[in-house]
């Protein structure tokens, strides 16, 4: 392995070191799980610093081109690490009162993140699959982390069964692609498709492969009609885990899409754009319609996260529908990235407040729990209102700018993709109804007599400050993020 190899895989290697370190600390001082969680947080921050430091070295490849560190990898890695840090900051206040072990949680989470980071730079079909599995397996564990809770176990089992089923479907699709192209390298697949298949009717084998891959990925991002596992898994899981599941695996699956569908299958994108448009339309609309009827905030956020998948898919559809080499093509990819970043911070922030509200075991995430929150915890109420307004897409917040980006991409692409823009904004208006309903409860109803106080630990407050700052800064000064997203998209095209 040459020096270049080490640089390319340094972030992934470092996060593994941190994860093992957490386990080690827990073995040595088993009763101090706060320490392990601290090690995990600081370790993840250190890996962020390492990632930022090696960013200037990009692009570097490792293992014969099967892993690449480019601007896209850097952006995605930093995003995944932010997810890890925020989740680690938000989790203790929820897990500790319920007697759930913090050290195991931290280590498992870091392993899941390492899988996501492996995905973000994978340039080989096998590495892609490896990263995917490494990312989702710890996810199943986290979903069932409250193992004595019936709902959590039910959700975890559903998540596991459908998850492994979809992994198998996905793997099957990979096999077809490999069989057709004769290579597992992303660049190789792309080159073969470019020379052989582009512009021609799809060969039957490749068509089946595409169908399987799409189905597998659609399960992972919870696109309608492959979303059935989501609400149960999300509602059953401990709230900080739900926050993680609604963001981490989703963004990681989009990383997979970027590497596989854009990187390898881009030359035949005219053959899969139709499917993406339909998926996007269904996912936005159904996610929102079902979210409208939820009275449990966690479940509502679960369905709304499905809707947000739909908005991100609009970006993908814009890429896929645009002519090769056009500006709209890049805009679509940037849209996926910008939306993912914005969504990460606002959604994690919203879940953090829900988790803080549920510090005492037995407090549900029912919407009634939020009554009078604006009165009894003004700051928490204000922050949740901010995150919800951002999720709705009202300026000047990150959520608005993210929507702006994908809508613009869809308009630039034109044709039938541009109707997705209209559908997206109609959906956003529908989403306002259920997001703002929480605000109604928070500010326009009185608090119940004996409402338990919210968690207010230093970690939680730090995390909320980060999430809120990101939500506002991306909304008001998005130029920095645009520049990064542009560089990342350029690395891919």
């Amino acid at each position: 392995m040459s020096g270049a190899d080490v640089t390319a895989i340094l972030p992934v290697g470092a996060i593994w070191v941190v994860a093992f370190l957490v386990i080690l600390v827990d073995v040595i001082v088993p009763d101090r799980d706060r320490l392990s969680s601290g090690v995990a947080t600081i370790g993840a921050l250190a890996v962020m610093a390492i990632t930022a430091a090696v960013a200037s070295q990009a692009p570097r490849t490792a293992f014969g081109g099967s892993y690449i560190l480019d601007q896209l990898t850097v952006l995605l890695d930093l995003l995944f690490l932010s997810i890890a840090v925020l989740t680690l900051l938000f989790a203790p206040d929820y897990l500790r009162p319920r007697g759930l072990p913090l050290a195991e949680f931290s280590a498992t989470l870091l392993f899941a993140i390492s899988g996501a980071m492996l995905l973000s730079g994978a340039r080989d079909l096998l590495v892609l699959f490896l990263g995917l599995e490494l990312m989702v397996l710890p996810g199943y564990m986290l979903a069932g982390f409250a193992k004595r809770d019936g709902l959590a176990t039910e959700g975890a089992i559903k998540y596991f069964l459908l998850g492994s089923f979809s992994s198998a479907v996905f793997l099957f699709g990979l096999v077809f692609v490999w069989g057709y192209t004769g290579t597992t390298s992303v660049a190789g697949v792309s080159a073969v498709l470019q020379s052989v298949a582009a512009g021609k009717p799809l060969a039957p084998g490749l068509a089946m492969g595409l169908a399987f891959l799409l189905t597998g990925v659609a399960f992972k991002i919870a696109a309608v009609p492959f979303h059935y596992w989501t609400p149960d898994a999300y509602q059953g899981s401990p709230t900080p885990v739900t926050g993680y599941l609604s963001v981490g695996p989703k963004v990681a699956a989009f990383a997979l899409i970027l590497r596989l569908f854009v990187g390898a299958l881009g030359p035949v994108k005219a053959d899969w754009v139709g499917a993406i448009v339909i998926l996007a339309a269904l996912t936005m609309t159904l996610g929102n319609l079902v979210a409208l009827t939820q009275s449990n905030v966690k479940r509502m956020l679960a369905y709304s996260s499905i809707a947000h998948t739909g908005y991100i898919l609009v970006g993908l559809a814009a890429y896929a529908g645009a002519a090769a080499g056009s500006e709209a093509e890049a805009r679509g990819l940037q849209g996926i990235l910008v939306y993912s970043v914005a969504y990460t911070f606002m959604n994690l922030g919203a879940f953090a407040i829900v988790a803080a509200l549920q510090r005492h075991p037995g407090v549900t995430s029912d919407i009634e729990t939020f009554s009078g929150l604006g009165r009894r915890a003004p700051l928490a109420g204000l922050l949740l209102a901010l995150f919800l307004i951002s999720l709705t897409g009202i300026p000047p917040t990150a959520g608005f700018f993210a929507k702006y980006y994908v809508i613009l991409a869809a308009i630039e692409t034109g044709g039938f993709v541009s109707w997705l823009a209209v559908l997206a904004v109609l959906n956003a208006a529908a989403a306002a109804f259920y997001y703002l309903r929480v605000v109604v409860y928070m500010y326009m109803r009185d608090a119940p007599e004996s409402a338990p106080p919210l968690a207010r630990s230093f970690e939680l407050q730090t995390g909320l400050v980060i999430a809120a700052t990101a939500t506002i800064v991306i909304g008001v000064f998005p130029s920095g993020l645009i520049t990064i997203a542009e560089a990342a998209a350029k690395a891919l095209l």
Binding site: I411, S418, A429, L436, V440, S479
Partner: protein, 503 residues
């Protein structure tokens, strides 16, 4: 030079931040701080008015800072005559509304004042923005505070009303976002550069397809806001449930956002589509004028009556705008200002009586003239102004609209003029019910609660009354201000298209 425009926009933000640090148990401090902020804001807008070079059609006090360079998005603000008088109207009405909230708002005073000041930022920003993206941002900033004002400090059915208000507005404005992006992209694909600036886009000849699509999306947003028949159904609910000051701002300023949008964006950017749709919009306007007036006649509730009369009055505004005629358009602008003053004052009057009786039904009122002579005088004065009595400002705007419309569509003008009789009907009937006759049993039962207006209430109404008289007798300064911009707008509209639309 001082960035007066930005100072006007963001002074309320400073005030809001200051109020956030006022202790919760000192509501009086929050009140006065908010009032002082609105006065300073009013001061800045008057500074702009004083230094404004009348007669020029262009924008003044321009500020331009790159914001999101990749998309050519700028923080670009500036005023012409139309936006300037609407900004002054906004700052004036906000100051008066804050003053009028001193007594009625007793709960969560601090939050109320902060919300109100944030609302003011959005409203001034909409009028001052010259970049479509910035305009959209301010347009949406208006939404959330109003949602909270109705939803937290409103009447019994406030949650239904506020959600209806938000959903209606949001559907329109989000579609407008698509329209904005389609417009900007069309400009980009034609010229190769991105721009959301009004100055770039307004002189640009977009293709008929883009114009039609974008015009429809903009139209929905503005028509819901203004509101035009049949998009008006949120308005009566919102008015009935909103607190007094919320109603004043809603009627006084928020409805004007729609009219302003038509004048500033719909006409100059999409003249072709404006011509295509003008006949339909004129028909809708006439329906709104008639319908609003007819429905107002049968309203048992004070606020609903004023709300429906607003629908009718705003019908004149859209009629004046889409007649594409100089006098009519000037009339539309004047009508917006006058409607803001008069309807704002009427809602303040409703607030005065509601605070004493906690009722707004005419059926239980009667004989107020004897018991509250000052109040009855004020109500009568603004009632007559609303009915369009010559010599008061309400008359000038409507008259100009008639005059201008008559030149291009005499039948429409005739129908609308006849409807003015209806306006007199419901207003006079209302006044007769409330003010004359014997003091009703219900009011007698209130005893000493039913006292005449207190100084703070009088202070809120006096500036409005003075302006109604001044602008009614001597509208020339106002007309001078708006003449240039109106000519500019019509110049864009008539570019290559002959006037004359309906018989």
């Amino acid at each position: 030079m001082l960035p007066v425009c930005s100072l006007t926009i963001f002074t309320p933000l400073v005030g809001a931040i200051l109020i956030a640090f006022v202790p919760r148990d000192r509501p009086q401090v929050a009140r006065w701080l908010a009032f002082a902020t609105t006065l300073v804001t009013l001061g800045w807008s008057l500074v702009m008015l004083a230094g404004f070079a009348t007669g020029s059609g262009g924008f003044q006090y321009m500020e331009d800072v790159a914001w999101i360079p990749l998309f050519g998005i700028h923080y670009q603000v500036g005023v012409d005559g139309i936006s300037l008088i609407l900004i002054v109207l906004t700052t004036l009405l906000t100051a008066i509304s804050v003053l009028a909230s001193f007594r009625p708002i007793q709960e969560r005073v601090k939050e109320y004042m902060i919300t109100f000041l944030v609302l003011e930022i959005g409203m001034i920003g909409v009028f001052a923005a010259l970049d479509l993206f910035l305009f959209y941002v301010f347009w949406e900033v208006v939404l959330v505070p109003m949602y909270l004002i109705i939803g937290i400090w409103g009447g019994p059915n406030r949650i239904y009303a506020t959600i209806k208000f938000v959903l209606y507005t949001l559907v329109g404005s989000l579609l407008m976002l698509v329209g904005i992006l389609a417009t900007a992209y069309a400009y980009h694909s034609a010229t190769g550069t991105w721009s959301f600036s009004y100055l770039d886009l307004s002189g640009f000849h977009f293709s008929p397809e883009i114009q039609t699509f974008a015009f429809v999306t903009f139209f929905l947003a503005f028509a819901i806001k203004i509101p035009m028949f049949p998009f008006h159904t949120w308005l009566p609910d919102a008015h009935v449930e909103a607190p007094t000051a919320g109603s004043v701002i809603l009627a006084g300023v928020l409805l004007k956002l729609g009219g302003y949008g038509f004048i500033r964006y719909s006409l100059p950017l999409f003249p072709y589509a404006a011509h295509t749709f003008a006949p339909a919009i004129i028909v809708l306007s006439v329906i709104a004028i008639i319908y609003g007036a007819v429905v107002a006649v049968v309203q048992p509730d004070f606020k609903k009556l004023v709300a429906y009369s607003s629908v009718s009055h705003m019908g004149f505004v859209t009629l004046g705008i889409f007649a594409f005629q100089s006098q009519a358009l000037q009339g539309a602008v004047l009508q917006m200002v006058n409607h803001g003053l008069i309807t704002g004052a009427l809602f303040l009057c409703v607030g005065v009586i509601y605070e004493r009786t906690h009722d707004r039904r005419f059926a239980v009122m009667g004989g107020l003239a004897g018991k509250m002579p000052l109040y009855a005088t004020a109500l009568g004065f603004f009632m007559l102004a609303s009915a369009g009595l010559p010599g008061l400002s309400g008359f000038v705007g409507e008259f100009l609209v008639f005059l201008g419309t008559f030149a291009v569509a005499p039948v429409v003008a005739a129908i609308s003029a006849i409807v003015m009789v209806l306006g007199a009907t419901y207003l006079l009937y209302m006044f007769q019910q409330v003010a004359f006759g014997d003091l009703s049993d219900f009011l007698q039962g209130l005893g000493d609660h039913l006292h005449d207006m207190v100084p703070i209430e009088i202070a809120a109404l006096v500036p409005l009354a003075a302006l109604v008289v001044v602008l009614g007798v001597f509208p020339a300064p106002l007309l001078n201000l708006i003449q240039g911009p109106v000519a500019g707008v019509l110049d864009h509209v008539s570019h290559g298209v002959a006037l004359g639309i309906l018989p």
